[in-house]
């Protein structure tokens, strides 16, 4: 996978600027060689005298489409690594019309005018002067058109989706239209100026042929690659699944793991729209409601025989739960009453999530590229909870109900798990509070021990290696189920959560209501200190969400992410300031973090999820919209991060840890004062 300067957030580095200069030089040479250093030639297209503009532009588009779509299909590059202009119909329609009029009047467009001026054309220089003035005019009258950009984060739209065509069909049609247009352009020139350099020429015939072949190639690539590797499906179909007729053959099939279906096989079967697979989730209803594998039916153990009757020995019945024991029992029970088509999902739901849905970027082992592409498709498909399989190609991919997302745990549930050696309760209250009474077995941790000065910026979350040392000394292992307990600041728990996420420790949850919740539920407390042997927690950082000011600046400039400033309002507007400068990041929206929690008596807790959902739906348009959260030093923002990422299921939340402390101190960064973003 190629990383670009944009995806690395390094578009403002010296290397990137140099590469931009080189790209510009090549761009200039291409334009000049095409003859676009002449306004007469450019204008010719509007009078049907010289159609070079259309010929060059369409050839360039077709060439780039073939290269880029191939690269995307093979997974050499991802859309996320590219800066793509959002679609804003009104602005682009009005802009296109004004641009077209300006183009035909002036005889230039910005890029060609640069080349024209470089060729010594006075009219190009005058045009550029006009364009500078026009840009300034836009700035001065921005308030007039500001409404056109009202959608804070503008959506990406692809033409093939807008037209309701598949990507492959659009590509094919576009190339075909291109060839047709080229011949028409030659015919037009032949008619208007009496000669055409390429009409019926050997060159144009060969060129058309090559384009047609390339277009067909692209069609095949774009058509084949989104639907997953067909060989694997064929192989799966061809596997003779032995008919098991007796108890001994049951045992032998279990022995040979013929009663299992691998998660990848299952994912691929469902993804490709297989009708003869019956997926059965045997977990309790509430767990099913929270997340389940798409297309699964929820059937309780006692109802299995009755409800599966229609599928007896037809297709594949695949059973799953969190672990393997229950499905194995269910499968054996079904076998005994004559089902020869019941299978277990290897490693259960957890295995499915881990093997099929875990983002490639979070995996420690290398993933073959075709599997990586499949995983991305599966993620799109299985993490969307609406629509039948064939609709997955739509670009909208809301992420909801992720089962592997840590959320909140009730005191009652925690009480049942607290003695489990795989559970580690971490108490983030002050030491006197902890010493007086804590949850039995809880470890005390001062949240400030996870923060420190990073390269001059105070109060930043420490690097992964240092966090892992703290965890090791508390005997936490990667598979430990960590429960975070707060006192009067929810953000203490969420900041500890950020530390865990930096190590990709996903098995953590926050005690609902904090320690007060525990006490008011009447649960036992203790004053004994716990005891543990040290573990050795891996030190590798898996942090994909912490961003620096450069990334924030780039998103701000491109308006490519929503910036959420979660500080109290007076700090946002600039009325109050404890920092180098007052105000906020231009474009940032204010949503104070403390509005996401409520106090019932003494107990501080998150507001109900539906209530939070309603609020954030109005602020963030889509579940996968990029959002950057920040406050002064990352502490309060960690709470909003948790709300968005884990309680509400927003998938693309970034955390600007250094926050206003750094932004305000760097005087090269822009600041805005007042109520408006």
């Amino acid at each position: 996978m190629i990383e670009t300067f944009f995806s690395l957030g390094q578009l403002d580095t010296a290397n990137a600027l140099f590469m931009s200069l080189v790209t510009g030089i090549l761009f200039g040479i291409a334009l000049e060689q095409a003859g676009f250093g002449s306004s007469r030639r450019l204008s010719g297209v509007f009078y049907f005298k010289d159609m070079a503009v259309i010929k060059v532009m369409f050839t360039a588009m077709i060439t780039a489409i073939i290269c880029l779509q191939t690269a995307l299909s093979f997974g050499w590059i991802s859309e996320q690594a590219l800066y793509l202009n959002p679609t804003l119909y009104k602005a682009q329609i009005i802009g296109g019309i004004i641009f077209g009029i300006g183009f035909v009047m002036g005889g230039w467009c910005p890029g060609t005018a640069a080349v024209g001026a470089a060729s010594g054309k006075w009219d190009a220089l005058i045009f550029l002067g006009g364009a500078v003035a026009g840009s300034a005019l836009f700035n001065e009258t921005y308030f007039l058109v500001q409404g056109l950009y009202a959608e804070r984060y503008q959506h990406l739209a692809f033409i093939y989706d807008s037209l309701g065509l598949g990507r492959e069909w659009f590509c094919l049609l576009f190339v075909a239209a291109g060839i047709l247009i080229f011949w028409c352009m030659e015919l037009i020139e032949n008619k208007t100026i009496g000669k055409s350099a390429y009409l019926n020429s050997q060159f144009l015939k060969r060129f058309s042929f090559v384009l047609a072949a390339a277009g067909f190639f692209l069609f095949l690539v774009t058509r084949t690659l989104p639907v997953a590797d067909t060989r694997e499906v064929a192989d799966f179909n061809g596997t003779a699944r032995n008919i098991i007729a007796s108890e001994s053959s049951l045992l032998s099939s279990v022995n040979h793991a013929e009663d299992h279906m691998e998660p990848e096989e299952l994912a691929q079967r469902i993804f490709s729209g297989s009708k003869d697979i019956v997926l059965v989730d045997i977990r309790p209803e509430d767990e099913f409601a929270r997340f389940h594998i798409r297309t699964a039916k929820n059937i309780q153990l006692k109802d299995l025989a009755e409800q599966l009757e229609p599928y007896k020995n037809k297709g594949w019945v695949v059973l799953y739960s969190n672990g393997m024991t229950h499905p194995a029992q269910a499968r054996d029970a079904l076998f005994r009453i004559g089902y020869q088509n019941a299978y277990l999902l290897t490693d259960g739901l957890e295995g499915f999530v881990e093997r099929c849905l875990k983002p490639v970027s979070l995996r420690s082992e290398p993933i073959p590229e075709n599997l990586a592409a499949q995983i991305n498709q599966w993620r799109r498909f299985f993490l969307t909870d609406s629509g039948p399989p064939d609709e997955f190609k739509k670009p909208v991919r809301p992420v909801q109900n992720l089962a592997d997302m840590p959320t909140l745990i009730d005191p009652q549930l925690l009480a049942a798990r607290v003695t489990n050696p795989d559970t580690r309760v971490i108490d983030l209250r002050s030491q006197p509070e902890y010493n007086t009474a804590h949850i039995p077995g809880a470890f005390a941790l001062n949240i400030e021990s996870l923060r420190g000065n990073l390269f001059g910026v105070p109060s930043c979350l420490l690097p992964a290696a240092m966090i892992s040392q703290h965890l090791s000394l508390m005997g936490v292992r990667p598979e430990t189920f960590v429960v975070l307990v707060y006192g009067d600041k929810v953000q203490d728990a969420t900041l500890a959560g950020m530390a865990l996420e930096r190590l990709a420790h996903e098995e953590y949850t926050i005690l609902s209501g904090g320690f007060t919740g525990w006490k008011s539920a009447g649960m036992a407390t203790d004053t004994k200190l716990p005891d543990t042997a040290a573990s050795s927690y891996p030190t590798e950082s898996k942090d994909q969400f912490t961003v620096d000011y450069k990334t924030v600046l780039s998103h701000m400039n491109h308006r490519s992410a929503l910036i959420l400033d979660v500080r109290p309002k007076a700090y946002y507007t600039g009325e109050k300031s404890d920092e180098a400068r007052a105000g906020h990041i231009p474009g940032a929206i204010n949503r104070p973090f403390d509005q996401d929690t409520q106090k019932t008596g003494e107990m501080l807790e998150f507001k109900p999820i539906p209530e939070l959902q309603t609020v954030y739906e109005k602020i963030i348009p889509e579940k996968n919209s990029p959002v950057i959260v920040h406050c002064r030093n990352g502490h309060q923002a960690s709470q909003t991060f948790f709300v968005l990422r884990h309680l509400l299921g927003y998938s693309n939340i970034l955390w600007y840890d250094a926050g206003w402390t750094e932004w305000a101190a760097r005087t090269d960064l822009p600041v805005k004062i007042g109520d408006s973003p």
């Binding site: 670009t4 300067f5 944009f6 403002d12 600027l17 030089i25 090549l26 761009f27 200039g28 040479i29 060689q33 095409a34 250093g37 306004s39 030639r41 060059v56 532009m57 360039a60 060439t63 780039a64 290269c67 880029l68 779509q69 690269a71 590059i77 590219l82 800066y83 793509l84 202009n85 679609t87 119909y89 802009g95 019309i97 004004i98 641009f99 009029i101 183009f103 035909v104 009047m105 005889g107 230039w108 640069a114 080349v115 470089a118 010594g120 009219d123 005058i126 045009f127 006009g130 364009a131 026009g134 840009s135 836009f138 700035n139 921005y142 739209a157 060159f203 231009p586 005087t667 090269d668």
Partner: protein, 170 residues
């Protein structure tokens, strides 16, 4: 100089060349080609030089910070000029000239180029890109907005062509 100038490149080959440059730009920089942003940044640079406080506080240019010229598209624009210069010299096409129809008065051409530039400069900001950054680069990534922009651009161009045709009268 006209007499020794080389003919233009085959437009189809020039198109392939341009398409490959665009592909390279996407794969290396992570962004397509652009020209109007460079111009707008120059405008912002000039304005923050003349009236720094006003520019810094303006909503649009203000977002670009105190040094709007430190931006990749400014460098790309400078490169485009350089590339044009190199190519024009090598092909013997460099020469100071006001391009217009022989019968058309210079004043008219100057006025049209100036107003055309003004409209294009404004419209490029409005549409968040010009023929390079929006139509070509966005179109190559199959973005809906870019195709909409391209269609409107040509429709308006052809609709307006008749009224300004005299500037090319020979």
């Amino acid at each position: 100089m006209k007499s020794i100038s080389k003919p233009y490149m085959n437009p189809y080959l020039a198109g392939i060349f341009l398409g490959l440059v665009l592909t390279g730009s996407y794969l290396i920089l992570g962004a397509g080609l652009g020209a109007s942003s460079g111009i707008a940044r120059v405008a912002a640079g000039l304005m923050s030089w003349i009236m720094p406080a006003h520019t810094e506080n303006s909503i649009y240019f203000g977002a670009w910070g105190k040094n709007p010229l430190a931006y990749y598209l400014v460098f790309m624009f400078a490169g485009t000029f350089l590339g044009g210069l190199i190519s024009a010299f090598l092909s013997g096409r460099f020469g100071f000239e006001m391009e217009k129809g022989k019968k058309s008065p210079t004043r008219k051409r100057v006025l049209l180029a100036l107003i055309g530039g003004l409209l294009v400069g404004y419209a490029s900001r409005l549409a968040q890109g010009c023929t390079s950054g929006q139509a070509l680069s966005g179109g190559a990534m199959l973005l809906t907005g870019s195709f909409v922009f391209l269609v409107c651009l040509f429709a308006a161009g052809y609709a307006g062509a008749y009224f300004v045709r005299r500037q090319w009268d020979d």
